[in-house]
Subunit: 328 residues, 2 copies
DNA sequence: GGACGGTTAGGAAGAGTGTCTAACTATCGG
DNA sequence: CCGATAGTTAGACACTCTTCCTAACCGTCC
């Protein structure tokens, strides 16, 4: 961290710290914020004044009951930032518009009629219209998509910052938001297996497609992982047989990464549910004799969409702070 | 980054930034430091005064030739911090004492007569005595060692901060110091293969032992990676046959991590040299059809010892800054 | 029921710390 | 001697901290 600066940097740091606490912990009084940041009372007031002047926080109420005057309760202004999260598949597009507080304000599903980029852009525009949020107020669009890169064509159609991420990575982001830490997420989807790694509490990093992972099949012949665990053939398999195939690939992954926990997600995994996770655990322990736990994802709902919401929010929160006056 | 603070934090930040630049870029004048940090002229003077008072930097010369007075040239005081790096194997212990600038001031090898912890501690003490550096001035000891954890018994014997790291990780640290970025290092040593990952320019992280990675052997039978690439059997193999075995395991690693580059290191890899790397590349491309490059390590000398030096230096540099007066 | 004390929220005043700008001095080469 | 450059000094500015003050609210006592 080689940053140097003057009092301006200090102010930015303190504003960001206070704002961060308000985002993480919800509504807070001046006093609570003072304890969390460690700043002095007048400084806390200054910080809150700046945040309020910039429209980032508002007074949402007052305490009551205790002795003394009632403290003002501050909270993040939800309307100060907007993001759209998109889970895009060839068969369907789901988009969610959420405000700075993370509340989903509108949701929309559509079946793509046009080429992907155009269909996604139109869905984003539609979900904004639905909640009467002008497109220009949109700060960030995060798209879960596996396939050819759509960043270029989408950035051209939308004014906001556009980031395309792979489904496995976003599912891992959603998993992490549930409190799980230190895991590798194995995504088993129609279009092949993928992996995202979130060890040491750091943000999930997709190591991408693991479809070409060489594994032996039941007869000991050399095959690629994707041929065994994806496509219609995998759906037709009994849980035990599928678990066996998954475990073979997982054995290699576990040997390389040694995560304490492996989370299963994706269409194929979702169809199998907890029984599949149990069968995979048993098969894996038979193969590798490791004490790695295997579970089905704890996320209820669409993990890709929820992960995209989380990722988009993190991005919006970082940019919104730039709006504080006197920044320069 | 949720840090809040007052002008004190600012001062610490600026001191650290200036010190960091002096460490990275070598001797600098006030003016050069001013440009690098972006600080004003008087502030740069203040920072340098504090660093000099704390004994962390010294004036090592003056410029000449140009118009105007000759600028003072400042450099890190090498004697302000001391670290010992150790590469420990059951057969031999190598220790290097280096100063804050990274110069190795003494070096010592020994054959362990006693138990590892005691033998290492004695070697550390000996190398300090050799350079007439009192043990109490030692700030950090970084040990490359694979086996039972030695942190406890060593911390008891040495006053300094002790960190034990695995050889693969330290070899990757050394590799990174040569300018290589974005790679996975495959360590092929006597005691089995290990892996260290340094992607995205982040510090190398050992994912540890990959000895139990399941791989097929020549006959298609399920084996563990360590049985194929380590031990006396591996040494006896022809380069082509060994490369084939390495590539099989590497195919799984590459599928999981997809690093742009794989670096081979360790005794077995060193014996094979560049020809082995070439043969592994060919075999890997035949197996996995990826465009992953494979090279032998670019580090000349003992990669573990050199990596331990780098890691120890980074640790010392972080602690030394705490010595600046008025910190609290 | 009304006055009072204890407690807490918020603000105001002044000091402290660290930085910046601008002016100044000293030094070197031509 | 003159122009250019290194470094210091002086004063202003920004942000924070400590300390003190006022106002509000609750409970208790008369």
């Amino acid at each position: 961290m080689q940053l140097a600066g003057s009092s301006r940097l200090l102010r930015v740091l303190n504003d960001a710290a206070a704002f961060g606490h308000l985002l993480d912990r919800g509504p807070l009084t001046r006093g609570e914020l003072r304890e969390l940041t460690g700043l002095a009372k007048p400084t806390t007031s200054d910080v809150l004044r700046r945040l309020r002047d910039a429209g980032l926080v508002t007074v949402v109420g007052r305490t009551s009951g205790g002795p003394g005057p009632n403290a003002e309760v501050y909270a993040v202004n939800p309307d100060a930032g907007w993001a759209v999260a998109v889970a895009a598949r060839p068969s369907a597009i789901t988009a969610a518009l959420c405000d700075l507080s993370g509340t989903v304000r509108a949701r929309r599903e559509s079946t793509p009629a046009a080429e992907p980029a155009r269909a996604i852009a139109e869905t984003v525009q539609a979900v904004c219209r639905q909640a009467r949020v002008p497109l220009r107020r949109l700060d960030h669009v995060r798209i879960g998509w596996s396939g050819p890169d759509l960043t270029e064509p989408l950035a051209g159609r939308l004014r906001a910052e556009v980031v395309v991420d792979n489904p496995a990575n976003l599912a891992a982001t959603a998993e992490r938001a549930t409190g799980t830490t230190g895991f590798a997420l194995l995504w088993l989807g129609e279009d092949g297996p993928a992996l995202s790694v979130a060890l040491d509490g750091s943000a999930p990093r997709g190591s991408g497609d693991i479809g070409r992972l060489p594994v032996p099949d039941e007869h000991g012949d050399r095959r690629e992982f994707r041929d065994l665990v994806s496509g219609p053939a995998a759906h037709a398999l009994a849980i035990e047989a599928l678990a066996e195939r998954i475990a073979v690939g997982l054995a290699a992954i576990v040997a390389v990464l040694d995560p304490p926990l492996v989370v299963l997600a994706g269409d194929v995994a979702a169809a199998g549910g907890a029984p599949l996770a149990g069968a995979v655990t048993a098969a894996l322990h038979r193969l590798a004799a490791r004490h790695t736990r295997v579970t089905a994802t704890g996320v209820s709902g669409d993990p890709v969409l929820l992960g995209a919401v989380d990722a988009a929010l993190a991005a919006v929160r970082a940019t919104v702070l730039d709006r504080i006056g006197g920044q320069r």
